[in-house]
Symmetry: C2
Subunit: 325 residues, 2 copies
């Protein structure tokens, strides 16, 4: 097996976030499940945008946020995801490549616009997401560059990829190529509603294809039907090499074989917007693993990156994480 050219390759939905403040009454009036991610069609995206407050726009997408974080730590990163050749597509591409991320998936030249996620941030800093997948539905197995996957030490996949129909096949193709090339495959479960949608498929995937798993407590509960983190950790330890269970302000639990490492959350001055917290935690852990750091050190980098991103609006780090670390 040749040496990897990239530390981490992310495969995910390529999305631009449109972020506005909202109160709980707004979420209720629009039937939104607070803290979750709902899929919406174009008509609903337009209608919802028209009722939202003044917003800012920033590149997003779960795996893409993680990849931006890995690059910000100084890691060698790449990304596969589908945009349209429109203004939002240009923004998405710029924000990855400007960090040194290799991003060469061809933009769609027709069809739906680049995906957008309408993010409502409530005064408690919790984010509620409404995603119009747009051009993401055009991601197919043909977009999975086999050489790129084989040249990446870790291929990181987001569970959200199970939503656009053809992306599921792209997901499986990437995982199969990575394993076949002797590389590692990492997965984030993305969202408890997403886990509910694809529970059995995720269980099978984890058992058969995944080396490194990221999940939060709600996702663990959705997968196992219980919040018993210790029991879930024991079960996962038998299926994956490393599991990272995030617990918001309680920090995280890293699991590997019989090892259990509890990592505290990093201190923050002001909680502003939790969008991207899990994504950036994953960035820290994946970067640490690429540098053969201990589980405790990987967790520390994850906590540090998550703490940076929740202190401002937007799901990408504003400060170079390598300097913070």
């Amino acid at each position: 097996m040749s040496e990897a050219i990239h530390d981490v390759l992310g495969v995910g939905n390529a999305i631009v976030d449109i972020i506005a403040q909202a109160d709980d009454a707004f979420l209720e009036a629009h039937g939104m499940a607070k803290g979750g991610m709902a899929l919406i069609d174009e008509a609903r995206a337009h209608a919802l945008y028209a009722t939202m407050g003044s917003a800012i726009e920033a590149s997003g997408g779960s795996a893409a946020n993680t990849i931006a974080g890995v690059a910000s730590f100084g890691g060698r990163a790449a990304f596969i995801g589908k945009v349209r050749d429109d203004e939002f597509g240009q923004i998405f591409g710029h924000d990855l490549t400007s960090l040194g991320v290799r991003f060469t998936t061809p933009a769609a030249t027709n069809g739906a616009a680049t995906a957008r996620c309408l993010v409502l941030v409530t005064p408690d800093a919790q984010r509620t997401m409404n995603t119009h997948l747009g051009a993401c539905v055009d991601l197919t197995p043909a977009d999975i560059d086999a050489d790129l996957v084989a040249a990446s030490a870790i291929t990181y996949l987001e569970g959200y990829l199970f939503d656009p129909p053809a992306a599921k096949d792209a997901f499986r193709k990437a995982a199969t190529i990575a394993r076949g090339a002797g590389r590692k495959v990492a997965l984030t479960l993305s969202d408890s509603f997403c886990v509910h949608r694809y529970k059995d498929e995720f269980k099978q995937l984890i058992a058969e294809h995944i080396d490194i798993l990221f999940a939060n407590e709600a996702e663990i509960e959705a997968l196992y039907g219980s919040r018993d983190i210790a029991a879930a950790a024991d079960d996962l330890a038998g299926q994956v090499s490393i599991a990272a269970i995030t617990r918001s302000e309680k920090g995280s639990l890293l699991v590997s074989g019989s090892e259990r490492v509890a990592v505290p959350a990093a201190p923050i001055e002001e909680l502003v917007d939790t969008t991207g917290a899990g994504d950036l935690y994953a960035a820290g852990v994946l970067y640490g693993l690429s540098r053969q750091l201990s589980l405790a050190e990987c967790g520390r980098l994850g906590s540090l990156a998550a703490a940076e991103v929740i202190q401002h609006y937007g799901a990408r780090p504003l400060q170079p994480l390598g300097e913070l670390a």
Copy 2:
């Protein structure tokens, strides 16, 4: 004279900001004058964007920022400015109308894209701006809705309007209609480089058309060739009803007849990005004037709004200013 329907009508360049961090070396390498606003063509905008770091996008435009601030205070506000019917144009329109601002200038259906300003924020929180005027060059006197101007207590104009050729005529038309309807005309000098470009025209305008003037120390120096604020205040007092001279962290000086009111800057916790400081100061003062508040109280609202906007990225308030006040 019938009662005004709008407290403040802004006329200005309709711009979306693309905001990234940069160091002083980046500014030097690209020949940028720190703290200023340079006009760039489309080719330079593309080239510069390609070298900039990861960015966020947010609606901007000097007078538009002020109008957003007036609306955020609870004022009845309107705006005239030109966008293209593209994604950035939609963003710009949404971010004003979502605040309750009346914005009905028809978007251009062909020609250049919506204007964008590449904003580089250095570690000292200073912003350096590079504007591609795009669709703003299509603002003409035909876009000045005479009824709207006549129905607005104050028409607020930005000096930057002298850059797009036809906008200068739109500017004069708006000022003439407002004065003719017995309303007030306010002007911000916008930028010291802008003052240098149109010095004699600005001097004539102030003497003939302006009731309320906003300027910072650098603009005063560009206009008078001296930093003698007291002398400038005396001169301006003879030409306009109210002049507001901003002095960054030293606060501002409000001038009216023989009255001189020094207003301190509002305290802040962390200086992040000075973009929009002057625009939001003007918002506070104009809102205060619309409510017949004292000069000292107008200045306090200006300081408060400026303090909000310099503690985060982007030139629009993130918190409702009416609640802060």
